[in-house]
Symmetry: C2
């Protein structure tokens, strides 16, 4: 009797959430960029991004949202609030979410002291040496102050180029099978193809099909977007949708 090859268990996070911490996004001052970058990376590496949450620089909002998300999904990436100023309270909130103390990390103290000298270690820089007890550090070349990884939570900076660099440093923990995407431009009202599109969707439970109108009204224009972790099935669904749309065009 032959045995099938053993199933290789998933070692990487299959689902994730992004928690953006920042009044500047909620006040409309800053257009959010980090969750967007992370979303593209999650898709490319094959981890399903299930929620993005943006909350203010408020301790209780961060703690409760982080606990909700980390209990719902395989992993959470946070963005923002790890600098030296009074509004940077993410590390403290993460420590409280995990009910561990916030400690000055010896390696960060040493690295920052080597860079700035003992005299340069003001309260602001001292603040940046603190991480939740038990964290692994997330280092990147863009900054001397690392992010922190504790449990299933990755605490990254909000400054976009630092976030991007730290994300590169952790992305290998996420996903096994990349998602792929195909799009079809359609110059028809959505209501004309809604029914046949739904029947195709029903045949492909491993392909996600969405319809995104760019312009409605008398001169409609939009896109049907298909994505899947299975390239063959994606191609089959793509061909069925393309052929259905071609039929309607005639």
């Amino acid at each position: 009797m032959t045995h099938p090859a053993p199933h290789h268990p998933a070692r990487h996070h299959q689902t994730a959430a992004i928690l953006v911490i920042g009044n500047e996004v909620l006040s409309g001052r800053t257009r959010e960029a980090n969750a967007w970058l992370a979303a593209q990376n999650m898709f490319a590496c094959g981890c399903r991004l299930c929620e993005i949450a943006v909350v203010p620089d408020q301790h209780d909002a961060i703690v409760s949202t982080l606990n909700r998300l980390r209990n719902s999904f395989d992993a959470v990436i946070t963005s923002g609030g790890i600098g030296p100023t009074h509004d940077d309270i993410t590390m403290e909130a993460v420590a409280d979410a995990f009910a561990v103390p916030l400690i000055e990390h010896r390696f960060i103290v040493e690295a920052m002291t080597a860079r700035y000298g003992a005299d340069g270690m003001n309260d602001g820089r001292r603040r940046m040496t603190r991480v939740p007890q038990g964290s692994r550090l997330i280092r990147c070349e863009k900054t001397i102050a690392p992010g922190a990884h504790i449990g299933n939570v990755y605490v990254l900076a909000g400054v976009p180029d630092i976030f991007a660099s730290q994300l590169d440093a952790i992305i290998h923990d996420f996903g096994d099978r990349p998602f792929h995407r195909r799009e079809i431009e359609v110059k028809l009202p959505e209501s004309l193809f809604a029914a046949p599109l739904e029947s195709i969707q029903q045949q492909f439970d491993d392909v996600e099909i969405g319809s995104y109108p760019g312009r409605c009204g008398p001169d409609p224009c939009g896109k049907i977007c298909l994505s899947s972790q299975n390239p063959d099935r994606l191609q089959q669904a793509f061909e069925q949708v393309s052929s259905m749309i071609d039929t309607l065009r005639d």
Copy 2:
């Protein structure tokens, strides 16, 4: 004995959340734009935006997130998922969140039938006539298919120019006292001004002060951002921060 003028109670929503419904945002296909527009509008009209959540086109995720948000804040604006295709499930989810039936609204049926004729009322268009029972319609000039307002929830379209037009139609329900913002460009490391900035923040509990580095490292550049509903206090805080930064520059 004279009485003070009666306090005019707030009639408008003071706090709000935005719920974006869309796989296209979570997959990184589309950069979110509607929450960003709404955030700017909320700030300008004086309603505090407390959370932005992005969830997939999944019934249970929409229902649970909407219920959490509408019980936490004065109002919730949703974006997306109200078109004619199979992935447009927001109206049904909102009805379920409120535990009311989804009904074909007579006015929408009449308007769409007048536009498309009885023969043009296919299943897709019929789908767009459905709103949660008890909804008021949110009309705008960009589309014949209205949004819906039920309880403290406003259900808007995801197509950006329709969302913008529908937001214009409801914005008068939000806010009483506009927020104002001032910014100061700073070419110093944040850690140098973190302590004095914190003491200024402690003197101004009605002014929100944030520090946003644009570039870290040897040639730092960033902005200190102050916002408040009280223009006089904002000006006072602005002057104190400016003067503090000038002192450090010398």
